[in-house]
């Protein structure tokens, strides 16, 4: 049992390069431990080892592509080549390491993105760039194909079978133009005059209002005054309208009362009507004979139901005549 535990710990240390696992492994090899303690250790180590591995790779999107890069962005080797931008559309960190990029659906494992590189971890709503220069030895982000004549780019999950995202590239892509999603992660694609590597595709539009307010209203007073004025104007207009309407309604009801009462003064108040009605009610209650121990039996009405309907029923329920 101890050997089994040690073996499992070995596997864990290989898989996760966890120093705590290795340390415990050594301890396990030299010290005889009780079975329960070993199982508990394995369990606890599992907790630690797997805690950082929950990542929704399905949220990754191919976001922007440049096929012909002649005067655009240069890579870390000072060279220009086509590139593919991947966007993490989720609000959680995602590690793209272990996924596959390909230009051929029949070869989904064309470029395996190396595991274990800290740079493959993409922060929430952030981007990463892969250079399609056909020179994978230049680093993690240099793939083993180029985009010159490809019609299709796809990103496959770590199992090499599950398609995460794919895009058909337009034919005859113009030089130094990119093909990307209008808004990061959206389903609408367009050709951009200006490329936006590693930034939001709708950068200029989305930040325009922010930039304006940051420049002209850094404290927020202009916004406060403007917005509060609008709120007050709207509600003042409502107030004025309904004040006028209320006055008209009151006048009309007063006129109606005058007609019905022949202009008798003081009869217009609703409260007075209520008082009169209540007094009359009290008077009628006083007139009636007060009896105690009176049993009242309500007549029980037969509620309609299609189950007892004479129209739909096959048999009519016998109704005893009295």
């Amino acid at each position: 049992m101890n050997r089994l535990a040690a073996d499992m710990l070995n596997r864990l240390s290989f898989l996760f390069n966890n120093s705590a696992v290795k340390t415990l492994n050594r301890i396990c090899q030299h010290i005889t431990m009780k079975k329960t303690a070993i199982i508990l250790s394995v369990f606890l180590l599992e907790l630690g080892a797997y805690s950082a591995s929950a990542q929704p790779v399905n949220a990754l999107k191919i976001n922007e592509i440049v096929v012909h890069n002649e005067d655009g962005l240069m890579d870390d080797w000072g060279k220009r080549s086509g590139w593919v931008e991947i966007f993490n559309s989720s609000y959680a960190t995602v590690n793209i390491g272990g996924c596959y990029l390909t230009t051929d659906v029949s070869q989904p494992k064309m470029y395996p993105i190396p595991k274990g590189d800290v740079l493959t971890v993409i922060a929430p709503r952030q981007h990463t760039l892969f250079w399609a220069d056909g020179k994978p030895l230049r680093g993690t982000f240099h793939v083993n194909f180029t985009l010159d004549s490809v019609k299709y780019i796809a990103l496959f999950s770590t199992d090499g079978r599950t398609l995460i995202d794919s895009v058909a590239t337009p034919q005859n892509m113009p030089v130094d133009k990119s093909y990307g999603r209008i808004i990061d992660g959206s389903s609408t694609w367009a050709i951009f005059e200006k490329t936006t590597p590693s930034t939001n595709n709708a950068l200029l539009d989305s930040n325009a209002a922010n930039q304006r307010f940051e420049k002209y209203d850094p404290i927020g007073t202009a916004m406060t005054i403007t917005a509060m004025s609008v709120v007050f104007i709207v509600l003042i207009l409502l107030y004025l309208f309904f004040r006028a309407l209320g006055k008209t309604a009151t006048r009309m009801s007063a006129a109606k009362v005058e007609v019905t009462t022949g202009g008798a003064k003081g009869a217009a108040s609703g409260e007075m009507y209520a008082a009169i009605a209540f007094a009359m009610h009290q008077y009628q209650v006083d007139l009636s004979i007060v009896e105690s121990n009176v049993l009242t039996i309500n007549k029980v009405a037969k509620a309609y139901s299609p189950w007892s309907s004479k129209i739909y029923g096959l048999r009519q329920a016998p109704d005893r005549k009295k």
């Binding site: 073996d7 864990l12 709207v234 509600l235």
Partner: protein
């Protein structure tokens, strides 16, 4: 031994699928928060209709899982993700407003329309928080999404933050609903502090009877006036007034009953659960969320001060006999009907026969309109 190794590897694989192997300290913290919400709702009945779904949603959202199972709220294609779509794209808030419109009686407001102005003044809470959020270093669009907490209206807060700063929506929504539940705790001390004993005893005229015509005209004129000026508030205001017309027209009773009954219940369940589930520890637990909670508290305080203060100033312009009891000033925040209930309770503390509830409902529903208008203005500026 081979069989033992096989069993060991199986156990290892099984453990990798259990939530225990993915749980972090943050997840446990959030689960405790969810349990606390449920406790508050059941034990103290603080907004149970909201805190139970949200609290349980927090539990659901913080069960850690292995990637690829398509169960998480942020995983495309998962059931929770489909339900969350209604929050993310602002579908649920207008439906809730439809229900609110169908259940709200605007008679108190129509009979004494000057109370609308209190509802406008209390929106100062939104912009007070906006200014402080800018001071804290938030960009203007995020500051606006945070400021809307001061409107004390959950659906409006969700609607605006989903449009302006979706990454903050969970924190904004939780903050808004938490402080709405805490209205009976936050507001009374401020109301007592800002009013004199004489002011608290002011008796207001009983509201006059409102005719059917006025009630029917209110949603029509209200929609036209507000939406012509602030079209960006159309999803909320349009649905609010539409719901009210269903109620007041007198000929669409069935539609009104559905809107204010089963429909709003369904949407409340969905919005509560998904907003709660969106608070996954990995995205929710951050200093930003703590700042948002602090700003939310500040916005409620500013809103209450603005409402009560406005009534005191307004009273200087009103004749004796027409004066407004400043204890209804707090109701300008749109936490319907909790803030109106607070006015009633605090009013009764000083005069057992002075019932302020009906008067307080006026600014309370005006606050709903005011916060929706404010949200429309912010949306217009930043979208």
């Amino acid at each position: 031994m081979d069989i033992l190794q096989f069993l060991g590897s199986n156990l290892q694989q099984f453990l990798s699928y259990t939530a225990f192997s993915h749980m972090t300290f943050g997840h446990i913290m959030m689960i405790l928060v969810g349990l606390f919400f449920i406790y508050l709702a059941i034990k103290y009945e603080f907004e149970p209709m909201l805190l139970i779904p949200i609290g349980f949603g927090i539990l659901v959202g913080n069960i850690a899982f292995k990637d690829g199972l398509q169960v998480g709220i942020y995983e495309e294609g998962s059931v929770l993700n489909y339900l969350y779509f209604g929050v993310l794209k602002g579908v649920y808030p207008p439906l809730i407003f439809l229900g609110i419109g169908a259940m709200t009686d605007f008679s108190a407001l129509i009979s004494n329309p000057k109370l609308m102005l209190i509802g406008a003044a209390a929106q100062m809470g939104i912009f007070g928080a906006y200014i402080v959020a800018l001071f804290f270093g938030f960009p203007p669009n995020e500051a606006a999404a945070i400021g809307i907490i001061g409107g004390a209206d959950g659906p409006t807060a969700i609607f605006l933050s989903s449009r302006l700063a979706p990454h903050l929506m969970g924190a904004v929504a939780i903050s808004a609903y938490s402080y709405m539940a805490l209205v009976p705790v936050i507001q009374p001390p401020i109301m007592r502090l800002l009013t004199t004993r004489r002011e608290r005893l002011i008796r207001m005229k009983p509201p006059r009877a409102v005719s059917h015509l006025e009630k029917v005209l209110f949603p029509i004129i209200g929609m036209l006036l507000t939406c012509l000026i602030v079209p960006s508030g159309l999803p909320l205001l349009g649905m609010l007034f539409f719901g009210n017309l269903l109620k007041e027209s007198g000929v669409t009773r069935r539609l009104a009953e559905t809107a204010r009954g089963p429909m709003i219940d369904i949407v409340t369940i969905l919005i509560g659960l998904t907003v709660g589930a969106s608070t996954q520890a990995s995205t929710f637990l951050s200093t930003t969320s703590i700042k948002i909670f602090a700003l939310g508290a500040a916005s409620f305080i500013v809103a209450t001060v603005a409402g009560v203060g406005f009534v005191k100033i307004f009273n200087l312009l009103l004749k004796e006999g027409n004066k407004i009891n400043p204890l209804i000033g707090n109701s300008g925040v749109s936490a319907v009907p909790d803030s109106a209930r607070v006015s009633q309770i605090v009013g009764l503390e000083y005069d057992k026969t002075n019932h302020l509830l009906m008067h307080a409902m006026g600014p309370n529903v005006a606050g709903v309109i005011g916060s929706a208008v404010a949200a429309g203005v912010l949306l217009g500026f930043f979208s």
